[in-house]
Symmetry: C2
DNA sequence: TATTGTTATACTCTATAACTATA
DNA sequence: TATAGTTATAGAGTATAACAATA
């Protein structure tokens, strides 16, 4: 198990680095909806982390030209996050990496669905929150 | 997959915290041999990280009374790490948590061995080093 | 000269708390 | 007063580089 998670993280981290992203910024980009602006607060919820972290994450995505901040006219406290044209392309690559096509290429369809079932069975027993929801 | 790794890390992190350990110190303690002193350099190799990090990790384990530093008489550059009596008990608990008995309790023996086989098959294709070995 | 452990430093990730501007 | 985003700060984890002691 430890072997699997280490292997997964290492390969994804390397692939993300080639896109100029860290694992956290890659995941943030992945959680954004390319077709609909998302308030920063909602992104924090999706990432399961505090809003304060989203600021730095989006700073870097914005600096890379992948995301834009826009003030919501309806509620001027909110800033919505919009994926740019460049951002869409990079986000697609991130999604590919996350679906682990290379990683799972060695498995047959049957093995793949068996693995998926077992993984779900194992992980469903646990807390759904990745971070402490206190 | 992401769900599984997040769930795993969350549960282990919580269990380690109850032992007064962080994930990294728990893993360091786990990699030590309770019956044979290990040079700090070898611990770094087992953890797949730089020697410089081992210093702080062992500092905390030593402060908690779980590990002792001893200068190797044969090569006075080396300091060997010895697990104390207290350390053995805590290390046993860490090993239990890592074997994930609670996590895997819902699976039958057959399912368990199938899962193990598939996980091995998937992870074997990757780089065995968790960190950048450059 | 090469190696062991340490220190100093930096960057990423994440958490809390205080601040601002809105509402 | 409550909320959204920001800033400041802290700690864990990990990396590189330079250093002292030893080989």
């Amino acid at each position: 198990m430890a072997h699997l998670t280490a292997s997964l993280r290492h390969r994804q981290g390397t692939a993300f680095a080639e896109l100029g992203l860290t694992p956290a910024t890659a995941r943030a980009l992945h959680e954004l909806d390319p077709d609909r602006p998302l308030p920063a607060r909602d992104l924090a919820d999706r990432l399961g982390c505090d809003r304060s972290n989203v600021t730095a994450l989006v700073d870097r995505l914005e600096q890379a030209g992948l995301v834009e901040r826009r003030t919501d006219p309806a509620d001027r406290r909110q800033k919505t996050l919009v994926v740019t044209g460049d951002g869409r392309g990079v986000r697609d690559r991130v999604t590919e990496v996350m679906s682990d096509s290379r990683l799972l290429a060695g498995l047959s369809d049957t093995e793949l669905s068996t693995l998926r079932d077992l993984v779900w069975k194992v992980s469903d027993g646990g807390c759904p929150e990745p971070c402490d929801p206190a």
